[in-house]
Structures are given as structure tokens and as C-alpha cells.
């Protein structure tokens, strides 16, 4: 889980062009990290590539924070 969390935070920082130290579990993608709608799509795509998973877009776009993203991705990776 910690490895996944670290990789999620790294992907978020790179995609949204923010400092990784500011990417914490509580960070909300839109309100706190400034993601717009195209960056949200880019994040989904980046997660898919990073973890080699296929994410349901509707569910993925419903994920609002970094912590939620970690929780969302973890079981997909375990599969």
C-alpha cells in the first residue's frame, strides 16, 4: 500500500505540476491542487499507465482526493 501511495502521489505531482510535498492524502484534486477537467482525464490516464490497470472512468472521475485515489487504485492493482 505504501508503495502504491507513493507512486500515486508522484503521478499526481507530475501531472498537476505541483510540489510532491504538497500532495497529501487529504489534498483534493480540484479545490486544493487546481486540477481542471482536462487534467482530471490526464490523471486517470496517467494512473492507468503507471499501474497498468483499466479504470472505470465514471467511478474514477468521482474520486475527489489523493487518499481516495489510493484507496481506489489499490484493489485494482491487487487484482
Amino acid at each position: 500500500m505504501s508503495d502504491i501511495a507513493e507512486r500515486v502521489r508522484k503521478v499526481v505531482a507530475e501531472t498537476l505540476h505541483v510540489d510532491e510535498v504538497n500532495v497529501v492524502d487529504e489534498s483534493r484534486f480540484v479545490e486544493d491542487l487546481g486540477a481542471d477537467s482536462t487534467q482530471s482525464i490526464e490523471l486517470v490516464a496517467a494512473f492507468e499507465e503507471e499501474f497498468d490497470i483499466d479504470m472505470d472512468e465514471q467511478a474514477a472521475l468521482g474520486v475527489k482526493s489523493v487518499g481516495d485515489a489510493i484507496q481506489f487504485i489499490d484493489p485494482l492493482v491487487q487484482e
Binding site: V30, E31, S37, T38, I41, E42, V44, A45, A46, E48, E49, E57, Q58, L61, G62
Partner: protein, 664 residues
């Protein structure tokens, strides 16, 4: 109007009455005034007659709204005046006009038609390329399709030569005739109108200066030209309003348009249902449903349709080299966001949204439904297919047909409203292939690829292809279900019988958007060939041929859908079992439900916390929430959201019904 033979000379009694009421004419001129039965000399006051003047009957009395027919305080020169016409307070003169029954001309300056008047017909408009080379010749029956071909088909010189000959003949019919003010038209408080024809029922009120033009109008679709309008070298079509200080120079304004609030346009063409306020257009080919509402918007040297220009949109066609020679194309359905800038030449794929200041050349036509943004350096970055499942795209598709303001039997522009069609889906298929190829061949160490000047982030290549794949599947399966459903309702015995294409259908993998009309490329090539070979004797025959192509749209579309589906999925629909059609319906259910759910997700953003910023009087969350709900309502109650939810429910029922029908 009264037949020529039924006019007579004035009687001595009529002459005496008119003279006593201040009417004047040269001694040899009184004989040139001829009147119809029912003429009432009492209604002639202080009129100076020159040349040959014919006057109709006066039966209409005044009421609280309308003054009685007759003439007062005017200089009338070489005019034929119909029955129950009112001409009053003409400061200079009205000369060489046919003023038809029931019309009214009052409080005007000069109205005059010269012997060489053409009434806007024959004016050459430098559309799309300000530097010329794509001139569109105006004539009264100009439609978006003919204009498009005149403008864009310069690579076929014989076609252009033949088409121009037909158009010139049509335009010349307006030459050498008097000006007309049509039946029941009103021309009031207009300072100057020279060489302008006014159609039936038109209202010209308060215009400043009109010259060399035609204002087409009819009972079903009266046209309005309003206060302070200046228009020269123009044709305005039926049911249109040009008002509030608009300025037109060398322009065609098609049916059902709205132009006003000081909009200025030069060398531009506007086709059906365009709206243009406040801003400026130069050398624009505004296909149907081009909309620009805001100040500081300059549309120049562009081709677009179903287009919405955000405030401050600005195009640039001049790089200070060989002059203003650059041009750009926004394929149908494009939007430009506030203060977006495009430095031509560029081409933007259909139904895309353009944001930012683009200072580099790019071409994204292979990527419809995309976000086309500029980075800080003005380079184009594309997110392919992201606009597919959005509220905007769905609303556009629904709203355009309901906003067709054209009335009456004659609708000159042929318009294909479909958002998803062989044209847009064809582009998606090409885009998907390009993206799939790039995704499989681009090294993971690269962050982006650049295609035709547009940058796409590598991680978005697969995602874009996925979006297109889903939309292609949704369109094809929906068309198949719809076609089979409809054919079986009409009596087809099985889905296999239902899929047989019409013998008149024409297939071409590639489709064209000809000024808002979609058609297989082959049909267009055949049409151009027929023009080149002189098969059409006049523009009416060309029009009939384009109408025929338009009438074949559904047949052509079905053949394309069937062929494309069979090719993509390697099946023969006519040889498929009933269960296969049920599988198609299940696929439709799955893909369209996903699609509509994504649209709902997009709609929900309009109600999320970010959307509430600025609401509330004291900044507290509770007041923001209450204020927002009072003004914007709740997501669950929103009519658009409920409509999408209804569509999802209806889709499930439809698929169940379809499966029961095909397996019956």
C-alpha cells in the same frame, strides 16, 4: 398592382382637386400621370410629380394605428404606385420604383433606383480569404451550399467557370428593372435608400443608409431592417433582422439571422440562423448557426458553422508578409472560449473547444470533439475526444433543430443537424487509428507527441482512442437498432431484411460538410462533374440536384453505417442471426448508458462546490448553499439532468423492446 391597360388619365375634376391641394407637375407632365379605377384625388396633397407616374386605388381609410392611403408632401418620379399605398413626407424624392399594394413609405429622405441598378446581385464578396481568389457572387437565391462550392472548390477551375456562368445569369436578372417596395412593406424614417429592393411585408424602420441591396421578405418570414443600420452591396434574406446600428458592406445575410447591436461586417457571408451582435466580421464564411454575441470579437478570414465565438475571440490573417492572405477553418460545432486567439492558418476539428492564445500553425481536423488549448508559448495542445460526453455537446445536438427560425416553404440552406454522422464519426475513426498507432509506437520516455503542429500528451493517446472507440461503437449500434426498428415497424420480416440498403444510396468512406449539408464525397464529385459537363441549365437545376442529395441523406447514412460496421467488426449483417442483433442492442445499452452517465457527471460539476463560489451574501457555506439553490436549483431537479435520466431509462426499455421484436 393594376394591369397596365386599366390605367386612365386624370379627369379635369381630379386635376383641379389636386392642384387646389398643392400638387404640382410640369405642364406637359400632368398627362403622364395615369390612375386606376378607385383613385381618390382628395388623397393627394402637396405632391410634386415628375416623369411617368401611375397610381392605384384608394380604399383604405385611416384608423388609430395606420394613416389612410394616399400621397402627401412628396416628390414622386417615374413610379408605379399600387392600390392603397401611403407615401408621405419624402424629403428629397422617390424615383424609379414600383411600390406595391398596401405598402407604406413615410418620413424618408431619398429613395431612388438608377437605370443600372443591380440591387446587390452580382456583388463579389471576398469571403474566407481577404486577399481574394475565393470570391462569392451574390444573387437572391444564394444558398450556403452554392456559396461554399464557389468559395472552396477553386481546385476545379472548370467547375468554377461553369458555376459562375450560371450564377452570373441568375444575378443579371435583377439588372435593368425598377426598384420595388413589395406588398404591405413599410419603409419609415429611413434617410437614404438607393438601388434597394424591399420584399413583401418587410419593415425598414429608422435605417440610416441602404445602397445596392435586396431585402427579401415574405408573409411567413417578414424581414426587419432597423434603426441606424447602414448596409451597402448586400442581400438580406427572409425572416432576418438587421437592427440597432449594424453596419454591412458587401455581405449576404441568410434566412432567420439576427444581426444587431452595432455589429459590423464586411465581405462576409452569414447563412441560416446566424446571430451576430456587438463584434466585427471580415471576410468570414459564417455557415449556419454561427453565433457571436460579444464585444471585442473579431472574426476574420474564417470558415465555420454551428460555431459559438466566446467574448474577445480574435482571429488573425495577416503576418505582414504578403498581406492578409491567411485563412482558417473551424469545422462544424466548434466553440472558442473567451479571449481565445487563433493565428491563421489553422484548422480545428469538429465540435472542439478552443482555449487560449494560439500563435502556432496547427491542424486538428483528425481529432474532433477535442479540447484545443494553447500553452504559455502559444503552442497547441490537444486532449482528443474529451468533449464527447459533455453537457455542451449533448445540448448543442438538441437545441439547433429547435432554434431554426426559418419560416415558410423556402428554406434555401440545406442543413444536416446531426452531431454524430458519417462525417464526424468518419473523422473519429481516422483519429482513433492515428492515436492507436502513436500509442503503440511512442517510447514511454517521451511525454508528448506532436502531430500537425498539435501536441498530445503521450498518456492521452490511448485514452483519446478509447473515447473515439466508444463513440464510434455507440453511433453505429444506435443507427443499426434505429434502422432495424424502423424497417421492421414498416413491415420488414426480419432484421436481415431490414438491413438491406436503399438502391439509391451511395457509399463513400469519406463524407463532406458542404456549408452545413453532409453528403458522401462521391455525391459531391458527381454533382461537380455534372456542373462541369453543363448538365444544369440554371441555378434552379443545381438547387434541385442539391435538394435531391439532401433527400438521400438517411439512405446514404445507413449504407455508410452498415458498410462501416461490417468492415470494423468483420461481419455480414444481412447474414447474421437474430441473436447477433440482440448483442448489438446490448452493446448499445452498455455504451450509451456509460456515455449518458458521463454526461450526468459533467452536469453535476455545474452544481459542485466550485460552482458555488461567489454565491451567498455573507460568505458562509450555509448562505452560499441556500443562495445557490435559490438561483440555480438542485442538480436532481435540473431539467437537463432529468432529461438525461429519462433517456437512460428509455434506452433500457427500448433495448428490451427491440430484442423482443427481432426474436419474435
Amino acid at each position: 398592382m393594376v394591369p397596365d391597360r386599366e390605367y386612365r388619365s386624370l379627369t379635369p375634376g381630379e386635376l383641379q382637386v389636386m392642384r387646389s391641394q398643392g400638387c404640382r407637375a410640369g405642364e406637359d407632365q400632368w398627362d403622364r400621370i395615369r390612375v386606376a379605377e378607385g383613385f381618390d384625388a382628395q388623397r393627394m396633397q402637396n405632391v410634386l410629380f415628375s416623369g411617368r407616374v401611375r397610381i392605384g386605388a384608394h380604399t383604405r381609410s385611416g384608423d388609430q394605428v395606420r394613416a389612410p392611403s394616399g400621397m402627401e408632401n412628396a416628390h414622386v418620379v417615374d413610379c408605379t404606385v399600387g392600390n392603397d399605398v401611403r407615401i408621405a413626407n419624402v424629403a428629397v424624392r422617390i424615383a424609379n420604383y414600383h411600390i406595391a399594394d398596401g405598402s407604406c413609405v413615410e418620413d424618408v429622405g431619398l429613395i431612388e433606383a438608377g437605370p443600372d441598378a443591380r440591387f446587390g446581385n452580382g456583388v463579389e464578396v471576398e469571403a474566407l480569404n481577404e486577399g481574394g481568389g475565393r470570391e462569392v457572387v451574390l444573387f437572391n437565391e444564394l444558398c450556403a451550399q452554392t456559396a461554399y462550392l464557389m468559395c472552396l472548390y477553386r481546385h476545379r477551375p472548370v467547375f468554377i467557370e461553369k458555376l459562375m456562368a450560371l450564377v452570373s445569369t441568375a444575378a443579371s436578372q435583377a439588372h435593368g428593372v425598377p426598384g420595388t417596395i413589395g406588398p404591405n412593406a413599410l419603409v419609415r424614417s429611413t434617410r437614404e435608400m438607393i438601388d434597394v429592393c424591399v420584399g413583401r411585408g418587410a419593415v425598414i424602420q429608422g435605417a440610416s443608409s441602404l445602397g445596392n441591396g435586396t431585402i427579401l421578405s415574405n408573409d411567413d418570414a417578414p424581414t426587419t431592417v432597423g434603426v441606424d443600420v447602414q448596409a451597402h452591396d448586400f442581400i438580406i434574406a427572409e425572416g432576418t433582422s438587421v437592427t440597432d446600428g449594424a453596419m454591412l458592406a458587401k455581405c449576404f445575410v441568410g434566412q432567420g439571422c439576427r444581426i444587431g447591436r452595432q455589429f459590423s461586417a464586411e465581405s462576409s457571408l452569414f447563412f441560416a440562423n446566424c446571430e451576430a451582435f456587438h463584434g466585427e466580421a471580415v471576410s468570414v464564411f459564417a455557415g449556419p448557426y454561427t453565433v457571436t454575441h460579444h464585444k471585442s470579437t473579431l472574426l476574420i478570414a474564417g470558415l465555420h458553422s454551428f460555431y459559438n465565438a466566446g467574448s474577445g475571440t480574435n482571429f488573425s490573417n495577416h503576418r505582414y508578409k504578403l498581406g492578409p492572405v491567411h485563412e482558417g477553418k473551424l469545422l462544424r460545432g466548434t466553440k472558442t472560449g473567451s479571449f481565445s486567439y487563433l493565428m491563421w492558418p489553422c484548422r480545428v476539428g469538429a465540435f472542439s473547444v478552443v482555449l487560449g492564445k494560439h500563435t502556432r500553425v496547427f491542424d486538428t481536423q483528425r481529432f474532433p470533439f477535442s479540447a484545443v488549448e494553447a500553452d504559455a508559448a502559444g503552442r497547441c495542445t490537444v486532449v482528443p475526444g474529451i468533449m464527447l460526453a459533455t453537457v455542451g455537446t449533448v445540448r448543442d445536438g438538441a437545441k439547433w433543430p429547435t432554434r431554426d427560425r426559418r419560416r415558410g416553404d423556402t428554406k434555401r440552406d440545406r442543413i444536416t443537424f446531426d452531431v454524430f454522422s458519417p462525417y464526424t464519426v468518419g473523422w473519429m475513426i481516422r483519429g482513433r487509428d492515428v492515436l492507436d498507432h502513436a500509442a503503440s509506437t511512442t517510447d514511454r520516455c517521451r511525454t508528448a507527441v506532436v502531430m500537425e503542429g498539435a501536441e498530445i500528451k503521450r498518456v492521452l493517446l490511448k485514452r483519446g482512442a478509447k473515447y473515439y472507440r466508444r463513440a464510434i461503437g455507440m453511433y453505429l449500434t444506435e443507427q443499426i437498432v434505429e434502422h432495424v426498428e424502423s424497417a421492421m415497424a414498416r413491415g420488414a420480416a426480419s432484421p436481415r431484411d431490414a438491413v438491406v440498403p436503399s438502391p439509391r444510396a451511395v457509399f463513400d468512406e469519406s463524407w463532406m460538410d458542404v456549408g452545413g449539408q453532409l453528403m458522401p464525397r462521391r455525391r459531391l464529385d458527381e454533382f461537380c462533374g455534372a456542373v462541369e459537363q453543363g448538365h444544369f441549365k440554371d441555378v434552379a437545376a443545381c438547387r434541385a440536384a442539391l435538394d435531391e442529395i439532401h433527400a438521400c441523406y438517411l439512405d446514404d447514412q445507413w449504407l455508410w453505417v452498415k458498410s462501416t460496421y461490417e468492415s470494423l467488426f468483420d461481419v455480414d449483417l444481412a447474414g447474421s442471426h437474430d441473436d447477433y442483433f440482440c448483442q448489438i442492442a446490448d452493446t448499445l445499452l452498455e455504451t450509451k448508458r456509460d456515455f449518458l452517465n458521463l454526461v450526468l457527471l459533467d452536469a453535476e460539476k455545474e452544481f459542485d462546490n466550485q460552482a458555488r463560489i461567489g454565491f451567498g451574501s455573507n460568505g458562509s457555506e450555509s448562505s452560499a448553499c441556500a443562495d445557490f439553490e435559490a438561483v440555480r436549483g438542485r442538480c436532481d431537479d435540473n431539467e437537463f439532468v432529468r432529461e438525461i435520466q429519462r433517456q437512460i431509462a428509455a434506452l433500457e426499455e427500448r433495448v428490451d423492446h427491440f430484442k423482443s421484436v427481432v426474436t419474435r
